[in-house]
Amino acid sequence: MELEAVRLLSAALCMGIGSFGPALGEGMIASKAMEAMGRNPEVSDKVFSNMIVAMAVCESTGIYALVVSLIILFVA
């Protein structure tokens, strides 16, 4: 394969495989948070802000994959 084709393929694969884990993790966080909110609606504000932070932390591996594929596409 040519270098250009390998670059495009590797960027796509990096993003596709890399977003797998964070998606699962965020789904779990959201489902648990929804459960907690449903059981105890009074604390939903607190749960929501904590949920957002936890999701952002969970998302960071996906963001690393994104940064790597951006580097593959635009820099290297």
């Binding site: 932070v53 960071s60 963001i63 951006l70 635009f74």
Partner: protein, 258 residues
């Protein structure tokens, strides 16, 4: 696919002062700073006992961060010391992340490149902010309790307390983990900055690509998504740097170590 504009990671230098090039993202940062200073001056002029709508909104945000800071630091007094820096961080990012939806901004061009680029879509600004937050926390902790703070990372003095062979092995592990924590601190900076940069830059790229495919109505949900993620990221950056600062400074205190 020809009508998609070129997407670049590098910023373009716009002005040259001495040997320092001022890039388009730095120009945009200056614009955001001026904007915030203007809003601040306007608010201070118009402070009322019966507040205006803007004042109510901002007071609400301050209240929220005050609550978070108080729970992270454990006392209101200490929380008040850190409120200005965290709130400024949040407010700056809130405006800077939404920079591309300001009207007419993207049509200012010089030599065919945008003269103003969203500040956080250049890695330099998030990295600088993350280094400033984590670094200042370390400096504060070091000035307050130098030996304790260094002792959290270099645990060699614990060899003096070793009584048995298994204790020796445990201490070896402790020392190794302490050294590993130094890498952890660097990883904090990387993760904080890459998270912000990645989210904002990805939003911009997505909007550019979708606008190239269909310019009418179709990009609207994506623009909304990018606005939402910009707000969330500003919030998350402020909250996480708050938690990291509190964690670093508190772990150096004698009562926490005991």
């Amino acid at each position: 696919m020809a009508n998609i504009p070129e997407i670049t990671l590098q910023t373009v230098p716009m002005l040259q002062i001495g040997s320092i090039g001022i890039s388009n993202s730095v120009l945009a940062t200056l614009v955001v700073t001026l904007l915030l200073a203007g809003v601040g001056a306007f608010l201070i002029r118009n402070l009322r006992v019966v507040p205006t709508r803007l004042q109510v909104g901002i007071e609400g945000i301050i209240e929220f961060f005050m609550g978070q800071l108080t729970s992270a630091w454990g006392s209101e007094e200490r929380a008040k010391k850190y409120l200005p820096v965290i709130f400024t961080l949040f407010f700056f990012l809130l405006v800077a992340n939404q920079f591309s939806i300001l009207p007419l901004v993207s049509s200012i061009t010089a030599d065919g490149v945008q003269a103003l680029r969203t500040p956080t879509s250049d890695l330099a600004l998030p990295v600088a902010m993350a280094i400033a937050m984590i670094g200042s926390a370390h400096v504060i902790a070091f000035i307050a309790h130098p030996l304790n703070h260094l002792g959290n990372y270099f645990k060699f003095f614990q060899f003096l307390k070793v009584r048995s062979f298994s204790g020796f092995l445990n201490t070896c592990l402790e020392v190794f983990l302490g050294l590993l924590d130094i890498i952890g601190e660097l990883a904090k900076i990387v993760s904080l900055s890459c998270r912000l940069f990645g989210n904002i830059f990805a939003g911009e790229v997505m909007i550019t690509v979708i606008t190239g495919l269909a310019a009418f109505i179709v990009p609207m949900p994506f623009i909304f998504l990018s606005i939402f993620s910009g707000v969330v990221q500003a919030f998350v950056f402020a909250l996480l740097s708050l938690q990291f600062m509190a964690m670093i400074v508190k772990s150096a205190e004698p009562e926490a170590a005991a």
